[in-house]
C-alpha cells in the first residue's frame, strides 16, 4: 500500500485546468521526483496535497484511507511536512527562535531547542541555534526550514526546488541528509527542474505537462534529454554558442566599487572591478546573499555611486546617473525578483512594459502632451510576448496572473525588444522550467552575438557554464578575477563560492586533486 495516493486530483481556476485528473503514488521510503515545466501544475498539485488549496475533484488517500487535507496545519497533523522554495524566516530572530514561533502547538523552549539540536546532529544539518538568521547563508537557512519541518516528525516531506540556492558542496550535504531520511522509511516528494540531480537521488519520477501526468518512470533508466522531452513535449533546443569575439571594446566597466551596507542585513561591497566587452557574456557566480543584489543595484543605478567613474557604460561615466539615464545610455536591466521589482504585480503586461521603457521609448509610447498611447504599448507588449513565447490566458493579463517562467520570459523580452548594448541580468532563470530557461539563455547568447555586452548574475552554475565566456565569483561582497570558461571547473568555482581567496592555495590544491 502506498503511503500517499492521489486519485483523479483536479483543480480548476476559472476555465483553466491547472491539474487534470492527476494520479500519483508515493511509496514508503521512496524519493519521488515531481517534474514539469512552470505552469505544468506542480505547485497546484503540491498545494492540494499540503492543504493550501482545495481540490475541485478527486481524492487523497493517506495510508489507504481517504483524508480531507483542509489546511497546512491538518497536513502537518497527519504527517506531511513541506519546505518551501522561498523561506519564511524572520531575519532578526535567531535560528531557535524561528523554530519556536513556527510551532503549531506551544511547547517549552528548552525541550524544542534540545530536539532541534538532536535532529540537526542526526541528519548532518549543522546550524548554530543562537545565530541570527540575517547573518546565515541561504544553505543554513534552508537547514533551519528542514529542521523545523522534521520537528513535526513527518512521514512525507515535500521539498520545492531545494537545491536552486545551494553551492554544489552544500547540495551534496543535503543529499546525504535526504538519504538518511529515506533509510528511516520516510518518503520525500522532490520537486526540481535539475534533471541530473533527479537522476542521481530519486527512485521514481512523475512527469506533468499542462496539468496532466504524461509519464511515470524510473529516472535512473532515463537520460536527461529523455526526461526533458517528456516535460516539454519535444526536444529541448540545446543552447548554441560560438567562440567569443576577440578583443573588442569594453561596453560595461565597474572600477573599484565600494558600497556601504544600507541596512543591517545588506552586504557591503568592496573593491569590485569588472569589465564586459562587446560580444561577451560575463557570469557572476556565488551563493545568494553575498552581495549580488547590492551589485545589481549599483550597476543598474537604483543606487548611485560616490564617483562618476565607478560605473562606466559604453565608455562614458555613469556612476552619478540614475537608472533611467543609464537606460538612455543603452543599458537594460532585469532584477532578480520578478513580482514587485521587475514588474508591478497588479498591473497589466502592457503597463509593465511602460514601466521600464517610458524614457527610452518616450517618442513611441507618449504623445507630445505626455499622454500614454495605450494601443501602441499593447501592440509592443504583444510583440514581446510572441517573440518570447509568453503563454497567457487573456490578451493583457496582470503580471501576477502569469506563471513565474512566463513572467520571466516577458520581463527579459521587454528589455531584449530594445536591442540594448549592455544587458545586466540577475538570476535570469531562477525557478523557471527547462523550456523557458533554454529560451532565455539562447536569447542572451544571441544578444551577445549581435555585439552587446551581457552581465549575468546567477546561482545556477550549470547555467553559467552553459552560456558564459568567463565566470567571476562573489563572496562576502568581493568579486574574484574572472576565470575564462576554458579554465573554469565546478570545483574551482565551488571553492571560490565557499570563500577561498582568488588565486589562493585552496584553488590550486583543488586543481591538483
Amino acid at each position: 500500500m502506498p503511503l500517499l495516493e492521489a486519485r483523479g486530483l483536479t483543480k480548476i481556476f476559472g476555465t483553466l485546468r491547472a491539474c487534470d485528473h492527476i494520479d500519483l503514488k508515493i511509496g514508503r521510503g521512496e524519493i519521488h521526483a515531481l517534474l514539469g515545466e512552470n505552469g505544468a501544475g506542480k505547485s497546484t498539485l503540491v498545494k492540494m496535497l499540503f492543504g493550501a488549496l482545495e481540490p475541485t475533484e478527486g481524492s487523497i488517500l493517506w495510508k489507504g484511507e481517504q483524508v480531507a487535507v483542509s489546511s497546512p496545519r491538518e497536513a502537518r497533523r497527519i504527517g506531511i511536512g513541506m519546505v518551501f522554495q522561498h523561506f519564511c524566516l524572520f531575519d532578526a530572530l535567531t535560528a531557535s527562535e524561528n523554530i519556536l514561533v513556527s510551532l503549531d502547538d506551544p511547547a517549552p523552549a528548552g525541550a524544542v531547542t534540545a530536539r532541534a539540536r538532536d535532529i540537526s546532529k542526526a541528519y548532518g544539518l549543522p546550524v548554530d541555534p543562537n545565530a541570527h538568521v540575517g547573518d546565515l547563508s541561504v544553505g543554513e537557512r534552508q537547514r533551519i526550514e528542514i529542521i523545523r519541518c522534521l520537528l513535526q516528525n513527518p512521514e512525507l516531506i515535500i521539498l520545492d526546488e531545494p537545491t536552486s540556492v545551494l553551492t554544489p558542496q552544500e547540495a551534496d550535504r543535503l543529499f546525504e541528509a535526504l538519504e538518511k531520511l529515506k533509510e528511516e522509511g520516510r518518503s520525500i516528494l522532490y520537486i526540481s527542474h535539475r534533471l541530473e540531480e533527479v537522476k542521481r537521488i530519486c527512485d521514481r519520477a512523475t512527469v506533468l505537462r499542462q496539468g496532466k501526468v504524461v509519464s511515470e518512470c524510473d529516472p535512473r533508466k532515463e537520460t536527461a534529454s529523455s526526461l526533458a522531452r517528456m516535460m516539454v513535449g519535444n526536444e529541448v533546443q540545446p543552447v548554441v554558442r560560438d567562440k567569443p569575439a576577440v578583443q573588442s571594446e569594453a561596453l560595461l566597466e565597474v572600477r573599484d566599487l565600494d558600497r556601504k551596507a544600507g541596512h543591517p542585513f545588506a552586504v557591503a561591497l568592496s573593491g569590485i572591478n569588472l569589465s564586459v566587452r562587446a560580444g561577451e557574456i560575463l557570469g557572476v557566480a556565488g551563493v545568494a546573499g553575498n552581495g549580488q543584489g547590492e551589485l545589481f543595484e549599483a550597476v543598474s543605478g537604483e543606487a548611485l555611486q560616490e564617483r562618476a567613474d565607478q560605473v562606466r557604460i559604453r565608455g562614458k561615466d555613469a556612476g552619478r546617473r540614475d537608472i533611467s539615464e543609464r537606460r538612455l545610455m543603452g543599458a537594460a536591466f532585469v532584477p532578480e525578483e520578478r513580482l514587485g521589482h521587475a514588474a508591478a504585480p497588479a498591473m497589466t503586461l502592457s503597463q509593465n512594459l511602460l514601466l521600464s521603457r517610458y524614457r527610452t521609448d518616450a517618442r513611441a509610447f507618449l504623445n507630445r502632451l505626455g499622454m500614454i498611447r495605450n494601443s501602441l504599448i499593447a501592440h509592443a507588449a504583444q510583440r514581446v510576448s510572441s517573440a518570447m513565447d509568453v503563454r497567457k490566458g487573456v490578451e493583457d493579463p496582470e503580471a501576477s496572473a502569469l506563471s513565474g517562467g512566463n513572467l520571466q520570459k516577458f520581463v527579459i523580452g521587454r528589455e531584449l525588444d530594445r536591442q540594448p548594448l549592455v544587458m545586466v541580468v540577475n538570476q535570469p532563470t531562477w525557478g523557471v522550467d527547462a523550456g523557458a530557461a533554454a529560451r532565455i539563455r539562447q536569447a542572451l547568447i544571441d544578444l551577445a552575438k549581435s555585439g552587446s555586452a551581457v552581465l549575468v548574475i546567477s546561482q545556477d552554475l550549470d547555467e553559467l557554464f552553459e552560456i558564459c565566456d568567463a565566470i567571476a565569483v562573489m563572496h562576502g561582497g568581493r568579486l574574484s578575477a574572472p576565470i575564462p570558461i576554458g579554465d573554469a571547473t565546478y570545483e574551482k568555482i565551488g571553492l571560490l563560492m565557499g570563500g577561498a581567496e582568488p588565486g589562493h592555495a585552496a584553488v590550486s590544491q583543488a586543481e591538483a586533486v
Binding site: E74, A344, A346, M347, S356, M371, I372
Partner: protein
C-alpha cells in the same frame, strides 16, 4: 470556534462596483434600527434625513455648498492615498488655506479691487500646500509616520485659528465677538446662480478638479507613476521614479486642494473667519475618498452623498429633535460598511470549529 479571514484568489469585479451601494443600504438599515432604539419613527426620520433635503431648490443649493469642500478635499486625498501616502491632516490644511487667503480682506480691508479674489484663491492654495509640506518633509527627510504628523498638525491649525480670531484678527468693530471683520464685496466668492440659492463657485472648482485629476490619473505618465509607486515601491524605483518626489507631489496637491476648499468656504459660504469654520470636512473627506473608490469621478458622487448627511442631520435636529452627534454616527457607519465591503472583496470568512480539529486528531489516532 474561531473565525479566520482567507484571501480570495481573485476579486469579483461586480462586487467592487456594487459594494459602495451595499454599504449605503446597510447604513440605512442600521440607521433605521438606531432611530427605533431612540424611540423615533424610523421611516419618518429617514425621510427627514435623506429625502426632504432633496425636495426644494434652495436646499439643493445647500447640498452643493456642503459638497464643494468635501469634493475638493477628497479628490486630492484620493490621489494622495493611491500613491500610498496617508494625509489625514486635510482639516488642518483647509484651515490654514482659509487663513492664508483671508490675510487680504482681514488685514488690508481698504485694498479693494477685482484682483483681490484671484490673489486670495492663490494664497489659499499656497497656504494649504505649505502646511501639507510639513509632514512631507518630515517623512522624506526623517522617515516619520505621516499619519501621525499630519493629524497632529490639525490641532495646531485649529488652535491657531481660534487664537487669531479671538486676538490679533478680531473685528475692531465687532463688540468683542470672536470673529474677524466681514469680507468686503471684492473678497466674496460669487454665487453660481444667485437668483435661486447660495451655491458658490467652490462647487465648480470641485468639478473641474475632478475632471483634471481623472485625466491625470488615467491618461498621463504622472498618473502611472503615482499608481506604480503606490502599489509597488520597489518596481517604481526600478522604473526610475522617485519616491521622495511623489511624496511631495501627493502632499502638495492634496494640501493645495484642501486650502482652496478652505478659502472657498470662508469666502463663499461664511464671509468671515470664526473660531470654527469646518464641521470636520477634512475628516469626512477621507470617507468621501474611499466611498468614491479613490476615483476622482466617484468622489463627486460620494461627496454629494456625504453632504446629504450634514443637511439631513440639521433637519433631523430641528424637526425630529435628534442630537447633532447623529451625523457623525451616520458618517462613521458609512465608512465602516465601505471598509467592511472592501475586506470581503479581498477576503472570505472561514469558521474554524474546534470539533473538526478534534476529529482530525481522532483520524490520526486511528491510523
Amino acid at each position: 470556534m474561531r473565525i479566520e479571514l482567507v484571501k480570495r484568489p481573485q476579486q469579483s469585479v461586480l462586487f467592487s462596483v456594487l459594494s459602495p451601494f451595499i454599504a449605503l443600504a446597510l447604513t440605512l438599515i442600521a440607521g433605521a434600527l438606531l432611530f427605533l432604539l431612540l424611540g423615533k419613527d424610523p421611516v419618518n426620520t429617514l425621510y427627514v434625513f435623506f429625502i426632504e433635503p432633496l425636495r426644494e431648490t434652495w436646499s439643493l443649493h445647500e447640498l452643493a455648498v456642503k459638497a464643494a469642500p468635501l469634493i475638493l478635499i477628497a479628490i486630492g486625498l484620493s490621489v494622495c492615498f493611491l500613491s500610498n501616502n496617508w494625509n489625514i491632516g486635510a482639516e488642518g490644511q483647509f484651515i490654514i488655506g482659509a487663513m492664508a487667503g483671508s490675510i487680504l480682506p482681514v488685514m488690508f480691508p481698504d485694498f479693494q479691487s477685482w484682483i483681490v479674489l484671484p490673489l486670495m484663491l492663490l494664497m489659499g492654495i499656497a497656504g494649504g500646500a505649505a502646511y501639507a509640506a510639513v509632514p512631507a518633509v518630515l517623512k522624506v527627510r526623517f522617515n516619520t509616520n505621516e499619519i501621525l504628523t499630519s493629524l497632529m498638525l490639525v490641532y495646531v491649525a485649529q488652535l491657531f485659528l481660534d487664537w487669531m480670531v479671538r486676538g490679533p484678527w478680531r473685528n475692531p468693530e465687532g463688540f468683542n465677538f470672536p470673529e474677524t471683520r466681514s469680507f468686503h464685496e471684492y473678497a466674496i466668492l460669487p454665487e453660481i446662480w444667485s437668483a435661486s440659492g447660495r451655491a458658490h463657485w467652490g462647487f465648480i472648482f470641485g468639478l473641474v478638479a475632478a475632471l483634471a485629476l481623472w485625466f491625470m490619473m488615467t491618461k498621463t505618465l504622472r498618473g502611472f507613476e503615482i499608481k506604480v509607486l503606490g502599489q509597488s515601491p520597489r518596481a517604481g524605483r526600478f522604473a526610475g521614479f522617485s519616491q521622495g518626489r511623489i511624496v511631495f507631489f501627493a502632499f502638495l496637491l492634496s494640501g493645495a486642494l484642501a486650502g482652496l476648499a478652505g478659502l472657498s468656504e470662508v469666502s463663499g459660504a461664511i464671509g468671515q473667519l470664526r473660531p470654527v469654520i469646518s464641521p470636520g470636512y477634512g475628516f469626512t473627506a477621507i470617507i468621501v475618498a474611499f466611498l468614491g473608490r479613490l476615483n476622482p469621478l466617484g468622489v463627486v458622487a460620494a461627496g454629494l452623498v456625504l453632504a446629504l448627511t450634514y443637511l439631513g442631520g440639521e433637519a433631523a435636529q430641528i424637526s425630529v429633535g435628534l442630537s447633532d452627534k447623529v451625523v457623525r454616527v451616520f458618517q462613521g457607519m458609512i465608512l465602516f460598511f465601505v471598509l467592511a465591503g472592501d475586506t470581503f472583496i479581498h477576503y472570505r470568512i472561514r469558521f474554524v470549529s474546534a470539533p473538526a480539529a478534534a476529529a482530525g486528531e481522532a483520524s490520526r489516532a486511528n491510523v
